[in-house]
Symmetry: C4
Subunit: 231 residues, 4 copies
């Protein structure tokens, strides 16, 4: 069996989505990439999480050809592949239909940065893709979902904004590793739930200032970060 360590990481990222209450039944999927080998490890389609083993995961190349595995990969595989091809800095992807984040995706509204919890992770509002056209839905739908995300990020850095809301669908999240991608999926759900309650408490709530936003993002990211322990 190839990529044993990455398989374990991807399995663990998938199980983290379950433990945090982000998935119902077989919803959601997480994957990871071995950049040197150009191989992706992803959850199989429609398999219950509680029976999933590392060997059930599917290994494909960046064209989606199955290299190892007897099960079908997640039907969202083509979306993952586009993101891995276009976002060279990412190493893991997590996709869920978690309740609050999906609700914002369905509302087709970006999540404004209402506070420092958001600013600690995202250097801007959490963006929403444009809806796909009928032609983009008809053929290569999942790949076109990836392309819509990539277009939305034309001027954005994926590691500074590690998630997107796909309009009318749900969030896709990513990070340097599968574990980070799952972590971001948890954070996006929390930020989305807080944003809903913020506008309920004050329909005219406003974003925090760019100064405060920058300050918090840089406390945790980049060369001047001072949150956490020295690595």
């Amino acid at each position: 069996m190839i990529l044993k360590a990455l398989r374990e990481e991807v399995l663990e990222a998938n199980l983290e989505l379950v433990r945090r209450g982000l998935v119902l039944y077989t919803f959601g999927n997480a994957s990871g990439i071995a950049r040197d080998e150009g191989l992706v490890v992803i959850k199989p389609s429609g398999v219950p999480y509680d029976k999933m083993k590392a060997e059930d995961l599917v290994v494909t190349n960046l064209d989606g050809k199955i290299v190892e595995g007897s099960l079908r990969p997640s039907s969202d595989l083509p979306t993952h592949l586009i993101l891995y091809r276009e976002f060279a800095s990412i190493g893991g992807i997590a996709h869920t239909h978690s309740r609050a984040a999906t609700s914002w995706a369905q509302a087709q509204r970006e999540i404004p940065c209402f506070g420092t919890t958001h600013a600690d992770y995202f250097h801007g509002p959490i963006p929403v893709t444009k809806p796909l056209t009928p032609a983009q839905i008809r053929a290569d739908y999942e790949a076109n979902t990836g392309h819509a995300i990539v277009r939305r990020f034309a001027k954005l850095d994926p590691l500074h904004l590690p998630a997107v809301l796909v309009a009318g669908h749900a969030p896709f999240c990513w990070g340097a590793t599968p574990a980070e991608a799952a972590h971001i999926a948890v954070i996006v759900e929390e930020i989305a739930a807080m944003a809903s309650q913020t506008i309920a408490a004050n329909p005219r709530a406003r974003c925090i200032s760019q100064h405060l936003h920058d300050k918090h993002f840089r406390r945790k990211h980049g060369r001047d970060a001072y949150y956490g322990q020295n690595k």
Copy 2:
């Protein structure tokens, strides 16, 4: 004891409603039908779930006559029977007062298809029945609830829209088996909760396009489905 396997399936469907947090106390009920025998297995009325055994379930014919069982069947039995008689394709029914779905039933508002989670399961908005007339409430209330559902589905396929919101009451859900019916009850609750949060995030939220709706429904249903593993 007759219909032992179906009794176990129906018990399991009832317990799934409990595990998923859809029922309080003795609320809710699930049933299943043996089409060849023309017999229905249903939860007894007002019995605690944690003590319920397969032999406590009640077996009736399609006229509601008890064929086996010493307990009274669920008071909603007549609704189940009408649905089994009129919807030939269904094999199980689950009824809950789960919080979010019941709230939409109380709001007497169909649940619009705001996203792909909904489209994966329902080929249209989740419909609401018309309120019953005083005469329909006075006599044969539970059977008339079933008739109101059937009238609402005059032009709809019950397997393409496997749930209904009974106005001022709560959802009834169904599927090819009791397990599928319980699964749909869980999904309806999730879709209802997301729909509430969607309109909170954007009061002008709109349905997804018919193209996207069709695409997702057909990814999972019918001859071109490609979600999950080959059976």
Copy 3:
């Protein structure tokens, strides 16, 4: 130790409030009455639930004089006593600050009957008391809370409407036994949560018809009830 059986019932009712997530820390209290002896058993004030034993409960007469027990009774005792004196049909009382029901009490808005879950338990909207006057707050505050409830029920039957929202405070619930009172506290929380979600889904949501309301209440109460098993 007197009233051992009632002490166990009251302890159990208090613990049910904890198990159902209705209380934080030492919030809430349940009591029961032995009508023949004219004695009330109630939770002690500010004692953690997880260490509470039947012998920690306090027994008082209907004037609030402690008959047995070394701890102070709940500070809400005078409210309970007024209710026991004025509502001859009740045998138990439960008071919580459960989140959704307390929110409606704070909103000082009666809970309209939006659906059959409500109608199964309450034969009308869940009423709200009038706010107390400064004089009623200054002296005998807890007894005056009881009097405000009694005034609100001048034309109402407490067993047909087994709960009230005290304006700006929280619900008081009751029943024939302490267990029933705790059960109603759980139901009131669920009905309140559903009512909030109902008006969120449809700000113009309306009550169900009086016919449907009567039908459901009488399915479960009175001589024509046909829900549950024969006792």
Copy 4:
């Protein structure tokens, strides 16, 4: 190892935040002060709660100099220090990003006293700080957060209002001990959640009267308190 007892108290206060569902991952922090020694014990930055031991906590003096401990203290330490220096009556501080309270902080709206749950703990609305200026964010951001809190409390008693919402950030809570601070953090979350549901149930909901507010606060605080047991 110095301050062993206080270390245990502070560890316990941090773990209480976890048990009550107020923190995600490494969010949040609690601290305590030994007034005689002028030393503060605080959670280390970015360390998982489930592996935290009393010896991992960091001891600093009131200038923030580390006196004992090999890990970095919480990045919010300077905020804690300002509060300990300016609020002589407090012995513990807890900071969380709990969902509902953080949402009100993000909404930059003080929490009105809608009911007696609030009045039992806070003698007034829960205040919000003013947003920091760009200069206050640029340098000594965390200390300036503390100064903003202190300015907001110029005419307020910190033990009568044991929490504040930092605008666009989250709550800081305190008390006579670390345990009390954590307790207040739980209460603030509950009050915030109830306040949101109160305005959802009635957008024109109003504060309770000053008489009722005073009555409940004094039932639990000061020389005329009569809630709980004699100490």
